[in-house]
């Protein structure tokens, strides 16, 4: 199996350990992984903030960049949702027939990480070992845009040593919302406070998700409040084994 990794701009910049974990995990599962060094961003930030002209150029760029790629794995549910839910309208509006057909061909080849593992590779037991108490935040895009359903739970359920603690109001937004977190910082923070109460009350050591943007938000508040717990992308949990535990980060 060959696949190409679209790491996303903020994972590349802010969370390279997530990317390294995806590489370790997928190579362990026998995937021949490739990385197109020309990649940058999917345009989600621009599109969600109303900068459609800019989003057009990111969308065009991404579709052209990956037109010859067989399978693309993305360890970020919101970026996949951007491509699946917003690209069709953007590309349609651009009215370029060639781009349109390239996109139509590309769309079914794009997988969010848990989709790739469960649907494409057909595994839920990835041989991971992570002896910690973990709760899972089902990010908005993961639940309502990608409909990931049981996939994340199946993956976590097969991790040896992991004790899963259920998060109340699991699908309630953490308040990040991209530029919403600064344009409406006060409301965003109020939403975050409510979310963090639920997360901390689980008594978990780690809060995981399939999207580092929610985790950046939650983790930022945890650190500010000395919450005594950390965030970790699910790729890092799944990459962790008994002989080679997860990378410890800041």
């Amino acid at each position: 199996m060959r696949a190409s990794l679209f790491i996303t701009c903020y994972n590349d910049t802010l969370y390279p350990e997530t990317g390294r974990a995806v590489v370790r995990l997928l190579e362990r599962l026998g995937v021949e992984l490739d990385f197109n060094s020309k990649q940058t961003c999917c345009g989600q930030m621009h599109a969600n903030t109303g900068f459609r002209a800019e989003a057009f150029s990111q969308a065009k760029r991404l579709v052209r960049l990956y037109q010859d790629t067989e399978t693309i794995v993305v360890p970020s549910s919101s970026c996949v949702a951007m491509i699946r839910d917003q690209y069709p309208t953007l590309i349609h509006e651009l009215g370029n027939a060639e781009l349109q057909s390239q996109f139509t061909a590309l769309l079914p080849r794009i997988y969010e990480l848990s989709e790739f593992l469960i649907d494409k590779l057909g595994v839920d037991d990835v041989g991971a070992y992570f002896p910690h108490r973990v709760t899972y935040h089902a990010s908005c895009h993961g639940v309502r845009a990608l409909h990931l359903g049981q996939r994340p739970f199946r993956l976590l359920g097969k991790v040896r040593g992991l004790r899963y603690l259920e998060l109340p109001n699991i699908d309630r937004c953490c308040g990040f919302g991209g530029t919403f977190s600064v344009k409406n910082a006060e409301v965003s923070s109020a939403m975050l406070a409510v979310k963090l109460q639920d997360v901390v009350a689980t008594g978990a050591e780690y809060c995981t998700a399939l999207d580092n943007s929610c985790l950046m938000h939650l983790g930022g508040a945890m650190h500010r409040q000395y919450a005594g717990m950390k965030t970790i992308h699910m790729a890092q949990i799944l990459a962790s084994t008994e002989t080679s535990p997860v990378e410890v980060t800041a």
């Binding site: 390279p16 895009h141 308040g175 939403m191 930022g220």
Partner: protein
């Protein structure tokens, strides 16, 4: 008492503060936030239970969305059909292009009747056109008959929700308002006593005032009938006792067939109040001699709706049946309540409807009052893709704003424009990452985290830390991997 002293919410989008500023008094009011969160959690809990017991919920949503879309796609036809059938049945149909025209039509009708008082069934459309202040100023006393609306009217407050307009007020606050306004000093905050007080107050109005104003949940094109659903029976009283009934309805409220109610009513009560069926569903068609009001008028209000209808992505906004499930599930509304939206239509539906309605073009901050979490779309019984419309409106706002000279130095605009350049070529992006890493080092503490940032970044760091940028990017790591290791 504090509730009376609470600052008066401004629900005029032309005058209201932008959302980010309007939320501040709310966020500093723990009692209000507690009232809102408690109330919507209760409603949402009930809704979730009842939705779960409907095996065909998704099919019902699909059917309802199709019915509403069909009605809107053929709105001209169905409105004319409604007008014709309603007229045949003895009703009078009036067309109002905007709020001012609707107010004048209603006032003229009341003057014809010689009415100095009018009783009202809860109608958000009348709040949209600011009917009560207009009538009061023209010498017509208005009496709300819905319990929540009475609380607001007596308490001189504005609605904060479209189904439960006094949601932000708790029992103790209701007691205070009633005691003060009805002169009942010994009133307790027992719900029974409170409703009794309202009932006594209302009964006189029902018996004395011969003219009523209602809204409409639905207009039925094939019969020319009107449907109103409610919980308290005040609507039924207003629909039977008065001599004259004036119904104000947005033009989008029309359903093609009577049978369509079968789908709508199943969805509406469950979505709105978490009930299998609302206690009172009133349907009437024109005038029935010897039974109910003998003068019946329908005022059909456009007020910007045709321009919404004319735009393909925006059109779905008009599918709304005003159930408020979107605001009950919205994590933003849960924190802010309704007043911060500066409109009679708050929450997610308000965030898309308000900026599109006539006279409401100042509501430019509302499309941004959402984290785009998608919960509203998921619960919407008529499948309005609210996030999609929000994005559409956001891009319209940005397209207007970006032409303004002042925006050149707006950090948000500057940042996003620069980001576009950075993302256009990998080498520029990688260079920017390098500069960013160096730049952020000045702000990164010994613990490897950033606790303070200037400008827009400060909006982040006011409540959140940010981990300092790692010394190596992912693509840098990938490039440095030994090739045989692959």
């Amino acid at each position: 008492m504090s509730p009376a002293a609470e600052e008066h919410a401004i629900l005029d989008p032309a005058l209201a503060k932008p959302f980010p500023q309007a939320v501040l008094p709310v966020l500093r009011n723990p009692q209000l936030r507690k009232n809102v969160a408690h109330a919507i959690d209760v409603i949402q809990g009930k809704r979730a239970k009842l939705v779960a017991e409907k095996a065909d919920w998704q099919e019902l949503r699909t059917a309802a969305a199709a019915i509403r879309s069909h009605a809107l796609d053929n709105l001209g036809f169905y409105l004319e059909q409604f007008e014709a059938r309603c007229t045949v049945a003895g009703g009078h149909v009036h067309w109002a292009a905007d709020a001012a025209e609707a107010r004048q039509i209603i006032l003229d009708l009341l003057r014809q009747e010689g009415a100095s008082e009018v009783i009202k069934i809860k109608t958000m459309t009348s709040a949209e056109i600011q009917l009560n202040p207009f009538l009061e100023a023209s010498g017509v006393r208005t009496y709300e008959t819905d319990l929540a609306e009475i609380i607001l009217q007596l308490g001189d407050q504005e609605p904060s929700h479209i189904v439960v307009p006094a949601l932000h007020i708790n029992r103790a606050q209701v007691r205070e308002i009633f005691a003060r306004k009805m002169g009942l000093e010994n009133l307790s905050d027992d719900p029974k006593e409170l409703t009794n007080a309202a009932r006594t107050y209302l009964r006189r109005k029902f018996l004395d005032v011969p003219t009523a104003i209602s809204g409409a949940n639905f207009l039925i094109a094939e019969s020319g009938g009107v449907a109103v659903v409610e919980s308290e029976g005040n609507g039924r009283m207003c629909l039977t006792l008065p001599k004259t009934m004036i119904t104000l309805a947005g033009i989008e409220k029309v359903l093609p067939r009577f049978q369509d109610l079968e789908v709508m009513l199943q969805l509406l009560a469950r979505s709105a109040t978490g009930e299998r069926m609302n206690p009172y569903t009133s349907l009437w068609t024109g005038v029935a001699p010897g039974d109910g009001p003998q003068n019946f008028h329908v005022v059909l209000l456009d007020n910007g709706r045709s321009s919404i209808l004319a735009r393909p992505t925006h059109r779905q906004t008009l599918k709304c049946i005003r159930c408020a499930a979107c605001m009950n599930t919205c994590p933003v509304y849960r924190q802010t309540g309704g007043h911060a939206y500066g409109s009679v239509y708050p929450g997610p539906i308000g965030a898309i409807l308000t900026p599109q309605l006539a006279e409401m073009h100042h509501a430019q901050s509302l499309p941004f009052a959402s984290s785009l979490c998608g919960a509203c779309y998921e619960v919407c019984p008529v499948k309005i893709n609210i996030p999609e419309v929000l994005l559409e409106l956001r891009s319209e706002v940005v397209n207007q704003e970006r032409k303004q000279v002042g925006r050149i130095f707006d950090p948000m605009y500057l940042g996003l424009r620069m980001a576009n350049v950075l993302f256009s070529k990998a080498w520029i992006f990688h260079t920017a990452q390098w500069f960013g890493r160096i730049g952020l080092r000045f702000f990164t503490g010994k613990d490897g985290w950033i606790h303070w940032l200037p400008s827009v970044g400060g909006k982040w760091t006011q409540t959140r830390d940010l981990r300092g940028l790692p010394s190596q990017t992912f693509h840098g790591w990938w490039a440095s991997r030994p090739k045989e290791g692959k």
